[in-house]
Symmetry: C2
Subunit: 236 residues, 2 copies
């Protein structure tokens, strides 16, 4: 239990609830059950594939990536989770993938049996899972059918807070602009998009050359032309 040492918020501590946290039952549940909070540094392991799945997690703040490894070391990041996302619910006894933080992260930790036995929170879980299934459907399209350019453009586009799942909303003439923070290394992006680190780098450089983006820092990108990126995603 590698994370016990990080448990620095005792149960009972009040965390302000956002209004977007709509599910009343889930809120009640979080208050009533034995719940812990974990603060984790960047690149901390939450659990490994194959670990006994006795805890369920909810991202309060920060970001977590889920990934799987093939025996020869190839890695695929299967999901990137943010606030309000729930993870750590496998079908069987063990976790089906690895979970690692991408940035400094706060998690809410439940006992798995609590989450599974309380009928009043199943609805919330079902809705979370539904959202995840939709995201995975989109990602399957990206991995199965999109070119390297389209993959990176899609990735950048989805990092734009206002464009999470909307269409391009930038000004049609200027193209609209936005600054995004990736919180992922090139390697993590590559493993998420099913590419190599070199290909990701080349595509980003090409976008830069075309004036679509500008690298303020390596993981901090200014998008100068949202519409331009959006058009390259292949989706619109």
């Amino acid at each position: 239990m590698a994370y016990t040492e990080h448990d620095n918020v005792a149960s009972g501590v009040v965390i302000p609830l956002r209004t977007s946290d709509r599910d009343v039952e889930w809120r009640e549940f979080a208050r009533s059950t034995r719940v812990k909070y974990q603060r984790l540094e960047q690149h901390s392991v939450v659990f490994y594939e194959g670990d006994k799945a006795d805890r369920v997690f909810e991202v309060i703040e920060g970001a977590v990536m889920l990934f799987k490894l093939l025996p020869d070391g190839r890695r695929q990041v299967v999901d990137v989770l943010g606030p309000e996302d729930v993870f750590g619910l496998p079908r069987g006894r063990d976790y089906d993938c690895n979970a690692e933080t991408l940035s400094r992260t706060t998690l809410r930790v439940f006992d798995r049996r609590d989450a599974e036995n309380r009928t009043e929170v199943q609805g919330h879980l079902a809705r979370c899972l539904t959202a995840q299934v939709e995201k995975l459907h989109d990602h399957a399209v990206l991995l199965g059918r999109k070119s390297a350019f389209e993959r990176v453009a899609s990735f950048l586009f989805r990092c734009v807070p206002a464009c999470q799942q909307l269409d391009c909303l930038g000004d049609q003439r200027t193209g609209g602009e936005s600054v995004i923070v990736l919180n992922m290394t090139r390697q993590e992006i590559a493993d998420y998009l099913g590419l190599t680190i070199e290909t990701v780098s080349r595509v980003i450089s090409e976008f830069k050359r075309k004036g679509l983006i500008l690298l303020e820092k390596q993981d901090r990108i200014r998008i100068n032309n949202l519409c331009g990126i959006c058009r390259l995603t292949g989706t619109h």
Copy 2:
């Protein structure tokens, strides 16, 4: 509502329940609510992406594929569903993908509001969705990180009834054998595996040449060496 004409089993008709249908609440729900049954021929459309999502479906018998299309016509099959799988639960108002039968199929049809309002069935839905998420994780690894050979081998291996999610269980010397029915055209397989029809065909021919498999019909394949195929999946 293209499928209304196929509704040929009125509510109240008793359909034998299998013992694997473990969720008592779900069974009760299926009995108590206004539920219909649909018999569909091969390659019938259940719904289109963007249709108003007012119905939830459960596969009773047969197989259904879910797929998405890009504006230029590229297609990705995001999931292939069998008996007991539930589909048609989007986050928003509309279905996020298209659903089509792969073979002659019987579906149970629920009203979406019924499924969402009944707290007693949310647990069942959460479990179904959990299983789907795990399957989608595996598929992301396949699409993002596996070679054409590994993809086709993985696909064939997962079509073996006894190997659904088990390891290879064939005799180590002979390799074990099994006959599988694909119920999918080469095009559908290609769109599921993120390949082209030609690549799928070439890989299958290569497996045939190596004596690993034997085509009894185009969609009926005898696997002569289960272990051999299993070893080529990249997963073990």
